[in-house]
Symmetry: D2
Subunit: 271 residues, 4 copies
């Protein structure tokens, strides 16, 4: 874009060339491994996380998915893959479901990532990202690491601000038709930014719907999970207390993300 007067770049910092932007324009391409744990919590704990604009899902409103993902991601030019400090990141996120205008959506209510470009993408997509330290066992064809097969065990952990927030061990049991249902709808997310004026409410209050433009993936596997959530003074993940397990899943996927649609503006009711 050099040569055109004015600043460019999909995200800040905007410059004459656009080259400094923390993230490139979509589409964004992803290769990754997903470890998913689904369980039921008290639906009131889910309701606490929904702004007035959204309602609980009609069916199974207390269903929660806690998902670890180990990603390599890049722009259309794929250059980040060859300087992998700019492509690789891990995340752990929590998805619930909700209803808006009669339609059921998935919604990410908490998410931790370990790179700044992932935080910037989240700001665009409405994922409420913080930094964390995320680890998950990787499948491998040789040595002690697990293959993706019956009996294989995968561990995953999440920490933030030097405190462990969650840990899980999943033992694979059998192939499965999906890797869960809670994260299976389009995402209804809010993009919120407070006004710069003190007490001025929200300067940006958008309800957007987003999802993968395209996706491919390998065989999903189902298994059993032992999950522990830990209290922390600045986190509320442990309020989504597991009451009843639903399932646990492993799947390798490829995904393309390319924007979304504005559903409503200025009406979330959030403060």
């Amino acid at each position: 874009m050099t040569g055109v007067r004015g600043v460019h770049g999909f995200f800040h910092p905007k410059t004459g060339t656009g080259r400094s932007s923390m993230i490139p324009a979509p589409p964004w391409h992803y290769s990754g491994d997903l470890l998913t744990v689904e369980y039921r919590t008290d639906p009131a704990r889910v309701a606490e996380l929904l702004p007035p604009q959204l309602e609980l899902a009609d069916e199974d409103p207390g269903a929660v998915a806690l998902i670890w993902a180990d990603w390599q991601s890049c722009s259309a030019g794929r250059g980040e893959l060859l300087d992998p400090v700019r492509a690789q990141y891990k995340e752990c996120f929590v998805v619930v479901r909700c209803r808006y205008a009669g339609v059921t959506y998935s919604r990410c209510v908490y998410i931790w990532v370990d790179k700044d470009f992932a935080i910037a993408r989240g700001l665009h997509q409405g994922y409420p990202k913080k930094l964390g330290s995320i680890h998950q066992t990787r499948p491998h064809p040789y040595g002690p690491a697990p293959r993706i097969e019956a009996g294989a065990t995968f561990g995953a952990t999440l920490a933030a601000a030097d405190r462990r927030l969650a840990e899980v061990v999943v033992t694979l049991r059998e192939p499965a038709p999906t890797n869960g249902f809670v994260n299976g709808h389009p995402m209804a997310h809010h993009r919120w930014l407070p006004s710069i004026a003190p007490g001025g409410g929200l300067a940006l209050d958008e309800l957007v719907v987003t999802g993968a433009e395209s996706a491919e993936g390998g065989q999903a596997w189902a298994g059993d999970a032992e999950l522990t959530l830990f209290e922390a003074p600045t986190e509320e993940l442990a309020r989504l207390e597991p009451i009843e397990p639903i399932g646990a899943y492993y799947r390798q996927v490829g995904v393309v993300w390319n924007g979304g649609t504005l559903l409503a503006s200025g009406a979330s009711g959030a403060r």
Copy 2:
């Protein structure tokens, strides 16, 4: 805020209690040490970083301040100071000057920090923050570290994505009336967020003015700097090539930040 229906929290993630918010509501309080290097670059290199809405400063339009800061910060309740992983962060940032509606402003054009709460504050304040690795020599009353006195030497470095971007050594010479002039005006910053729709332009495009609500500080010191900037494929800091030194400064300060004012919306001309 518990008990009020709806989600709360100054920033995401918003919850029933607001306790999970990545940052608390302002005012934000800071204690820190500032190492400042001022120099002149080609004014055209500054102009490349200004959206059409802003003009170069009338006087000394090529003046640049490169500032390292070592902060402890907290909300009004000061609790973060006692869990210091949530209070301490370092940053390195670049300030230029510009004009809007006949008034001269300072403006941060690049900034790197090492904590997520600092990134979130930047999104609110219009600082274009990325993550980096930032280090600066600390003064100390005993042992080999420098006192703040004539002849003392302070080093500072910046890296991002595993590449060193800048390094400086400053030797203090004498007390000075200020620690520079480039960062001395109210800040004219943009808060930009792209539309969720592909190619949809900007969903948020605000020109805001912000600055310290109050500040105190110790004696400023002036000195001489040896500065080196390094090229990197995703950064353009080295385009702000030093042509002529202005000065170098050290100062310890306390600052309160408490919001700003919206100057204009939707008119930056940025793409």
Copy 3:
């Protein structure tokens, strides 16, 4: 040392020039802030950490010092201070006392640091260092951070492997003649390395005595501590359970370390 045939360098990697060595030869110079918490645990818990060669101290054998330190360190040439990523580190360590040949010594039984050069020094000095994430409130003359004065509060935390292991808040009360007694003797440390042959016992088994060659410091302050230790699967810090508080202290110091003396070899009785 270039030009002399053979490899050089105080530590690995040894090269023709010695320039790559992870650490320079002593003396090593330090500027830092020490936050110390002393308490009594069951002396049997201290005894568990002593090899047969050492005995419990005669007086107050259950006394423990848990010390946080925020350091800038360098070799005699002081060059590291100007590239501060190579000079600054933080540590948290646990000191008990013991007796050998009728003399009372201090002894570090656990220690976590956040830089590799600090680990290398520990291998030389007999400090049993692991990596950790360590934070402590810094005093500052301006803004919300504390001055060193009555009523000031300092927090400090320790984490390793994404789990918090310890946290403390210390409130300063009054000037004090010392910053504790547990860490006040010369250190009796072991330098152990297993044989490369499986089951071959120890290849290195040295009892050494070390301590500061010289030290200076500011006024020590005494205060009160609220200390919490946390369990972790690969740590035993929490076994040193606090039964009775002794005191808490803050002091800024400068230290020079320059080697030690071999007391005994091959006789620790450790396995």
Copy 4:
């Protein structure tokens, strides 16, 4: 080992139970991906890194292998794999060849890792480990990341102390019988530790030979590399200047390491 009097643990810190040891006793099991670049440098640059006890290899004495590895590792009980912050690490290391007593050995002359347990293992094995930041593209079956196949490109980078030290892009060409020859011999390593007394020479000076107890692996692939080495004030990697490329390789492996043999003690001639 609880209940037996005295301290236990394969490595420090030694305790009554041995549970705190930074590393468990061998055997150690590994799953990982190896990206290898082999080239010729001036043999004099290799000779500079060999103590007088060792000679240059007879054939191709200037051959160098620069190897990136992305590991999951564990003890015999495999528990670390399920708390993967304790199992996963990355490394970048440099291997040359040498002769001792008429036999050709491989020898690691530089190595950077990103976890403390890897540093501890290196101290036992004679690998001269420092901390670094290491990244390499991972193969993946879906999305933009490469499959292991002709034309696939893998990038890898190394940084330490906030400076990039090496980067490479490897393009796979065809299956190959091996993934190189420089790292193909048993390793002749030194385990050195200075005396605690200033100027006291070496307290430990062992020449050991080690290697995998067993290994398995997938099809090796050969390809072409674009390698860049960067200068840094505390590193000499760039002195091993590439003069002529040999080859580049990718291979996934499983390895067991279980100790080695002492070849000589006190005779390295290192200072």
